[in-house]
Symmetry: C2
Subunit: 268 residues, 2 copies
Amino acid sequence: MTFIDKFRRVTAPQGLGLCVGLDPDPNRLPAQFSCDLKGISDFLDGVITASAPFAAAYKVNTAFFEAWGTPGWALLERIAGRLPEASLRIADAKRGDIGNTAQHYAKAFLENLPFDAITLSPYLGGDTLQPYLKNPDKGGFVLALTSNPGAKDLQYYTDGTDRLYQRVLAQIPAWAPQHNLGAVVGATHPEELIEIRHRFPNVPLLIPGIGAQGGDAAVVANLADPAKAPLLVNLSRAILYPESKLAFPESVVEACGEWKKKLLVAGG
Amino acid sequence: MTFIDKFRRVTAPQGLGLCVGLDPDPNRLPAQFSCDLKGISDFLDGVITASAPFAAAYKVNTAFFEAWGTPGWALLERIAGRLPEASLRIADAKRGDIGNTAQHYAKAFLENLPFDAITLSPYLGGDTLQPYLKNPDKGGFVLALTSNPGAKDLQYYTDGTDRLYQRVLAQIPAWAPQHNLGAVVGATHPEELIEIRHRFPNVPLLIPGIGAQGGDAAVVANLADPAKAPLLVNLSRAILYPESKLAFPESVVEACGEWKKKLLVAGG
């Protein structure tokens, strides 16, 4: 199945799905887990089991594994293999390097590891994205407008007509005629997000910034439209460490249910 | 010792030094090495020993290790620990993510691994670079103008006064008042490289693109000036797989000597 077909399938029927972000912080684990790699491993197993009925996609943040060195990479491999095959499995690696190096990153994440997609930096240009996109069954999400305050340093740079993030979005159809490249647009910029959706309806979006970062779920929910490209809303901290009266893993089940309702009922 | 002091020391007295890029391609190893991780490991040991008398710095390309999964990361750790402490040890990882994720990447490369510096993408803005720069003994090299053809897709984007890569360079002093952030500028753009050196004389540069990618050593050599910020010229394929009548590792010794002569005699 091609990347875009799988993306449509996991987000059907509304054209919007919940992406569970796995950013395991050892200092925020529930009390029953040890603050080490064993604790993280057990915690993630519990999160995946609890969230699987709700998750259209999973996004695994490689930094939180690399920080543990070789055993961390081994856990990344195990967790990647543990994600439901029917979900869209995203390596949140933000890689970006010239072609012969990019081939090795593509091999690492899209061949050796069973990810369907990888997050990418656009700074080096379209030629450096191609190694990740040559197989239409795999895909990428290129950074466009990110959720952090410093996003404005370069992403708002303008030639008088378009800002840099708009230029990135405008080039996506040429970079990926096989429809296997989406964009990362943070929900912390609601006006720009609405403008992007209107101007680039055929670009699939991965939307972080809701929950801990303060973006508004209703804004995103209203963008869902099965006639346009599919959307994924990523939630990491709000799913992994929810404020709840329930204990883990019921707290995760509850958080998934509540967020899915906010995103899909409002949007439906 | 601070990053900038160590950078000046390794590039003294000319203000320019040879950086040996470790991008181990299993298909290009000398015949005595097996085409596997064991062969790569032995090959890199030989390269480091042969190049140590010539190298101001080493740049380890993480993609070539990640492509081997967990055993590859274990080799990355071993090789990082094997680099001469007196050299400037650079993780060529091109990382770039928001703050709480960047902290984990910084821990992975600048705390757990003994690298002095890491290559970074500027796309997300200055706030995302700070976790790598807070310790003045460690540093970064942010992508400015890269050596690949697609560099022009975004890096030449202009507001009518400056191109994007110039904007990146102009912001470096504000992003890193501790002088621990340099820039990556490819030698495949000789006119721009000269312009950058003239306009931003206080920004340390890491210059790839010479050798296999076709950049001219003489152009770079002429930019060396101990009164300005220090320069590193990276050579990967031209050092690792030189055309030579000599066998490995003498071929590497010869290549290091020849390139150092081209870079430093011309520049002196």
